[in-house]
């Protein structure tokens, strides 16, 4: 008996020590606390939190199409999070992923609609065009910072709005605009990245899918190659930051620009390069969104939030490529699962924004988490001693 409590204690202590060591631990604890806050809010509003979480979980995993929707939803925010994390690691705060996403979308819609090429050329061309345009868009903020000392937070807020109005201007250009609507024409089928799009609609395809429940259900969604590209981009970002001279230099500027400058790194150029890469990533997200989901761009009344959600995903994922993939999936699962508690229980879906806000809030305060854990440890210690 005595041995068991002793083992318990060391296990708990080990866990606490492990969790407080790195960002991963803080993220996990913050996520846990976020769920508790969500439960409390739901309970205060008169809903059963366990029931609500049950609906959310089964709403995400109980059918192949649900899982597919979660993956689809995670794709753009994983990539915008990579964009933001890349900037973070190089000492820049890219609030402009939102606008760079829009620029990527505009470019993809233009190149996807006006250019006619076979698929194996068209898809890479659209993606590269979206990344280039958004990279240059991000580069404006980098240039303004390097050359004129304009803080990137402010310049990117401005650029977000300019991008939004530019989007609305381009959508309405005659010849591109779909008659009498607030949308553009759809991109060519050769630029479409939905998995088996042609085959899915063919008679044989339909026949086969009817006979296979799992694939039939999963492929009812616009499941596309975007997620695979997101993973590839995550690997490229990880590799660039950790294994290349470029990544080393950019990070060095992020840690201490004066030291980097003394070490012979061109600080101005590094800032510009960082913002170009960060912008290109967000642009890829926008481009893939057009190629895989929306197929066209529409007039925007407000920001769609892909960039802002990406900030939360990057923070929850501790700015690491692997962490971002998981936190992107978590964010998307919350969003998709959360949308189901409204029809099922009448509980406001927006509780998930409160949860995400709470998670980010706790991530901002490692000191609070340390403090809580320290008290738990003390209590356990007192209990064990007594």
């Amino acid at each position: 008996m005595k041995n068991k409590t002793f083992a318990d204690k060391t296990f708990a202590d080990k866990t606490i020590a492990y969790l407080t060591k790195g960002t991963l631990g803080f993220s996990i604890i913050s996520i846990f606390l976020g769920f508790i806050i969500g439960a409390i809010i739901l309970a205060i509003a008169g809903f059963n939190p366990i029931q609500a979480y049950g609906v959310m979980i089964s709403g995400v995993i109980s059918r192949p199409s649900y899982i597919a929707w979660t993956i689809i939803g995670s794709t753009p925010i994983i990539i915008t999070a990579l964009s933001i994390a890349f900037a973070f690691k190089t000492g820049l705060f890219n609030i402009g992923a939102e606008g760079q996403f829009i620029i990527g979308g505009i470019t993809a819609a233009i190149v996807g609609y006006f250019v006619e090429l076979p698929s194996f050329l068209h898809i890479p061309l659209v993606l590269l065009a979206a990344m280039t345009a958004a990279g240059l868009w991000g580069g404006i903020a980098g240039f303004l910072k390097a050359k004129f000392g304009v803080h990137e937070v402010i310049s990117t807020i401005m650029l977000n709005w300019i991008a939004l109005y530019l989007n609305n201007y381009i959508v309405l250009i005659e010849g591109f605009r779909r008659a009498t609507s607030q949308r553009t024409h759809e991109i060519q089928r050769t630029a479409n990245i939905v998995i088996l799009e042609q085959w899915k609609r063919s008679p044989e395809g339909r026949e086969w899918l009817r006979g296979h429940d799992f694939f039939g259900d999963a492929l009812r969604t616009p499941l596309n190659w975007g997620f695979v590209i997101a993973i590839i981009l995550a690997i490229i970002v990880w590799y660039t930051l950790n294994k290349t001279t470029l990544g080393y230099e950019l990070k060095a500027v992020g840690y201490n620009r004066h030291a980097a400058e003394y070490g012979g790194i061109n600080v101005s150029r590094s800032m510009f390069t960082s913002m170009v890469i960060s912008g290109a990533l967000a642009g890829a997200a926008g481009g893939l969104h057009v190629m895989g989901i929306s197929k066209s761009i529409a007039s925007l009344a407000a920001m769609e939030g892909f960039g802002f959600n990406g900030i939360a995903v990057a923070l929850i994922g501790g700015n690491s490529s692997l962490g971002i993939i998981f936190s992107g999936l978590l964010f998307s699962a919350l969003q998709y699962g959360g949308s189901k508690i409204q029809p099922a229980l009448g509980a406001p879906s927006e509780v998930i924004h409160i949860m995400i806000g709470a998670i980010v809030f706790f991530i901002a305060m490692p000191k609070l988490i340390k403090y809580i854990l320290h008290n738990i440890k003390k209590k356990r210690g007192a209990k064990n001693a007594g």
């Binding site: 809010i41 509003a45 705060f93 609030i95 303004l144 004129f148 000392g149 304009v150 803080h151 937070v153 402010i154 310049s155 807020i157 401005m158 650029l159 977000n160 709005w161 300019i162 109005y165 530019l166 609305n168 201007y169 309405l172 009344a301 407000a302 920001m303 802002f308 900030i311 939360a312 923070l315 409204q342 009448g346 406001p348 927006e350 509780v351 998930i352 924004h353 409160i354 995400i356 806000g357 709470a358 998670i359 980010v360 809030f361 991530i363 901002a364 305060m365 000191k367 609070l368 403090y371």
Partner: protein, 312 residues
């Protein structure tokens, strides 16, 4: 011609108002050394609470005060994180920007039978227009001065805040805390108390800003109402070099473009110009201005840095 000018000035004043409140919120918190990127979230919760209390009580002033309170409560969280627990202030602000709109929509659904749009406030319980009916209808003076009370109060608040920051002992302390907290601490100023006060006030102002939209410009809350105004206010605050009067001028710049957009969107506008291109203009202008003469103006030295007593 004069009427058109009156119309543009009038709409400019109306649209600048929410920005001015929120930007003043930014001014006071940043002068005490705490960044508040969460103005957007605080405006959103203010807009919802203002519209809700205004609708159910029938009293716009009660709604306005409740909105300030709601913004202040949300700001309290930001203060706890960034002052007491030395959080990364930008990250905490981002959290607020999820919490504010999330809470606003959540509460809206609870208060208004599952709708994310609150019910419209009846015309006579909207914010009053103190100078209504004094000037001939649609005359120049009427178009310019027949404004909601919130508009006048915003400009009054600019003056009050300027006076507070530059003409009172408390203002001197606030600026000292923002510039050099250690020196202020040595002289016996309570850094934590000053920062709590300023952060909470910034939330109150942002809440007022939200309510000045939902109780005056329109008569309800809807999910896209605030959409980005908090960020523009943040930019206006920096554009205005962290000073109340500067922030006011920057907000008026954003407001005038809004006024022009509305004016040129009217059927009787003298010429047609792409509304989208026009809408871009203030943002492009801000970038250009920032490149030129705002470049050297700098933020309060200690902004964004948590203060820890006894640290060297």
């Amino acid at each position: 011609m004069l009427d058109s000018l009156g119309f543009i000035i009038g709409t400019t004043l109306m649209y600048s108002t929410p920005l001015i409140y929120a930007a003043l919120g930014g001014v006071i918190t940043e002068n005490s050394g705490v960044t508040n990127i969460g103005l957007e979230g605080m405006m959103t919760i203010g807009a919802l609470i203002g519209a809700t209390v205004g609708f159910y009580s029938g009293n716009p002033w009660l709604g306005f005060l409740a909105a300030g309170l709601a913004g202040g409560v949300l700001a309290l969280f930001h203060a706890i994180a960034s002052v007491t627990f030395e959080a990364d202030q930008v990250v905490s602000g981002i959290a607020i920007n999820f919490l504010g709109p999330g809470l606003a929509l959540f509460l809206s659904r609870l208060f208004f039978e599952g709708a994310t749009m609150t019910k419209a406030i009846p015309l006579d319980s909207k914010m009053p227009r103190p100078l209504h009916g004094i000037f001939p209808r649609n005359s120049f003076l009427d178009l310019v001065f027949n404004q909601y009370a919130t508009v006048y109060m915003a400009f009054l608040l600019v003056f009050v805040l300027w006076y507070l920051l530059y003409r009172t002992k408390l203002g001197l302390r606030i600026r000292a805390v923002g510039e050099h907290p250690r020196a202020a601490d040595t002289l016996g100023v309570n850094i934590y108390r000053i920062r709590y006060l300023c952060v909470i006030l910034s939330g109150v102002f942002a809440g007022f800003g939200g309510a000045s939209m939902s109780l005056a410009i329109v008569s309800n809350f809807r999910p896209t109402l605030v959409s980005g105004h908090g960020f523009i206010a943040l930019a206006a605050m920096i554009f205005g070099k962290w000073k109340p009067q500067g922030a006011m001028w920057a907000c008026l710049l954003f407001g005038v473009s809004n006024g022009l957009v509305v004016y040129l969107g009217r059927a009787d506008a003298p010429f047609q110009i792409s509304v989208q291109i026009l809408s871009m203009l203030p943002y492009v202008l801000t970038l250009i201005v920032l490149m030129g003469f705002v470049g050297r103006a700098s933020a309060p030295a200690a902004v964004g840095v948590p203060y820890e007593k006894g640290e060297r």
